[in-house]
Amino acid sequence: MAVAVGCLAAQVALLRQYDAQTDQIIKDKEKQTDQAMKKLEADARKITVRMGFNLLILPEGQTLSGLYDDQAQQKFMPDEYAAKLASEKVITINHVLPALTQSVKWPERNRRIILTGVKGEVYIQSGEQKPILSPVPAGSVVLGYELHKSFNINKGDSIEFMGRKFKAGKLHDEQGSRDDATIWMNLSEVQELLQKPGKINSILALECECQADRLANIRKEVTALLPGTQVIEFKSQALARSEIRLRTAEESAQSIQRERENRQKLKDQRVAFGAVFVPIVILGAAIWVAFLMLGNVRDRAPETGVLRAIGLRSWQIISLFLGRAVAIGLVGAVIGALGGLAVAAFWQGAPSWRDMLAMASPPDVYVAAVVLAPLLSAAASWLPAFLASRQDPATVLQKE
């Protein structure tokens, strides 16, 4: 009975310890994840802070796709907006690129292309900063890959565009974007060709260094500074940071969930093993107790015969044996519960009374075991006790 209760006690204690370990592991993991997230966010901020984020300022009502659509109505804004944006301290901008872009037909080559007039940078915050884009000198063009490739134009060749002569300057490599069908010219020449003097239709503000959470305010401040404009954020590093954080958080949550599921799976296996092993041990203990009691009944047959001879009734004989069985069960349960806890504590490498008490809390299972073990022992002893009560005292006494 001590072994049976011991197995039960150890099993319960180990499962409880396992749950406690799981909780601790998950807590540690959550803590580590939280710390890792904070570090990652700090690192991402440090890494991307120098990159800033990018703003595209368009005339109000101008769609981004409309810039490249010759059918769409085009909107414009004054080209001094670029200088204004650069000179005001609304935000710290490393590069301001005003542009006039329009889809036009290259009449000499009978090809629809995108013509972009660029002024180059109008403002660089620090003199040590490397320009992001070289200005296109007047009389020169930069050609996208598709154009110089299809028309077999080489650097330095002279080309004619809308009745004017230009020198092929830089030739771009393949980009896989609409840049491959783009011709870049000096802004003032494009303004003349398109008859839009002093007009631009986009300002690219690159590497704006500020907190992402200020974006909403920046939009308001820019549109207040440059009336009739709209601000589009694109290729945002802040969004990238946010994306990194979200992805990492998701991955961390999934990792914790996987850990939890693995721990639960292991626990389920232990519970399943215990659900088979413990009842077998209890059944074995009950059978063992029954056999022990049967032997005890046989050994005490003379005593039973004497007690019957002096007048003890059947229930009194049964009570004698069941009382003994209950005592065996009770002592076995107490020893087993303490032993099981001790084994579990040693198993976990924590052989102290405090750990054993912690494992035994709440004590419901152990109390139930100490109550039920004597009852089980009594139940297992019922048949031997009953047989004892039916023993014929005459037979016993005659044998003597």
Partner: protein
């Protein structure tokens, strides 16, 4: 007090039934000491157990104080036996783990006995066991053990005392003492039925009945 009428009893054996008692009848009156004498194996103990309500006979009737023992169920018979009958066995049948005092008091497990403790102490003293009252049977001589058994049998003030070879394991002195106690019991109004193979012991009784092994019958 005790009336056995036409008692028969057989035991089943693999090689056939053995009839131990055939139409045995006897009466033991209150205040009478009756001895049944016969050789070993003639059925003396069987007769005694049947008389004590512990062995259901195949036929016949056992009346104790006008009550038919075997018309009672087993529990009622046990209770009646506890109240009316005391046993003394050749092997004493003391409970080995109990002290002399507790052995003497053991009938209180079966029935309420008024002033049991004082009576037990008195019996122990009268039987010369006062110095041994805390001893267990293993620490006693055979004569002392039999005196403890006698005290136990007398504790409940039975009406009938059944004694199975009570002197069989005793020396002459202890045997005489035991027989003296039995006679005292009879003189005080109790009925004694003693079975023995010893004719010297039987001669101490008021009346002797001979049992024949071959006939398995009673002859006074």
């Amino acid at each position: 007090m005790l009336e056995l009428s036409n008692i028969t009893k057989s035991y089943s054996r693999p090689d056939g039934d053995i009839r131990v008692l055939t139409d045995v009848s006897l009466t033991v009156n209150a205040g009478e000491f009756l001895a049944v004498q016969g050789p070993s194996g003639c059925g003396k103990t069987t007769l005694l157990l049947a008389a004590g309500g512990m062995l259901h006979p195949d036929g016949g009737r056992v009346m104790l104080a006008s009550e038919d023992f075997y018309k009672m169920n087993i529990e009622a018979r046990a209770a009646y036996r506890a109240r009316m009958v005391g046993f003394v066995f050749q092997q004493f049948h003391l409970l080995p783990y109990l002290s002399v005092l507790d052995n003497v008091l053991s009938p209180t497990l079966a029935s309420d006995i008024s002033d049991a403790r004082n009576r037990a102490e008195e019996l122990i003293a009268n039987l010369g066991l006062a110095e041994r009252r805390r001893h267990v049977p293993a620490e006693l001589s055979t004569g002392e053990r039999q005196r403890v058994a006698m005290a136990r049998a007398l504790l409940g003030r039975p009406k009938l005392l059944l004694a199975d070879e009570p002197t069989g394991n005793l020396d002459a002195g202890n045997a005489a003492a035991v027989l003296d106690y039995l006679m005292q019991f009879a003189r005080s109004g109790g009925a004694v039925l003693l079975v023995t193979h010893d004719s010297a012991v039987a001669r101490q009784a008021d009346r002797v009945i001979q049992m024949s092994k071959t006939a398995a019958k009673m002859a006074e």
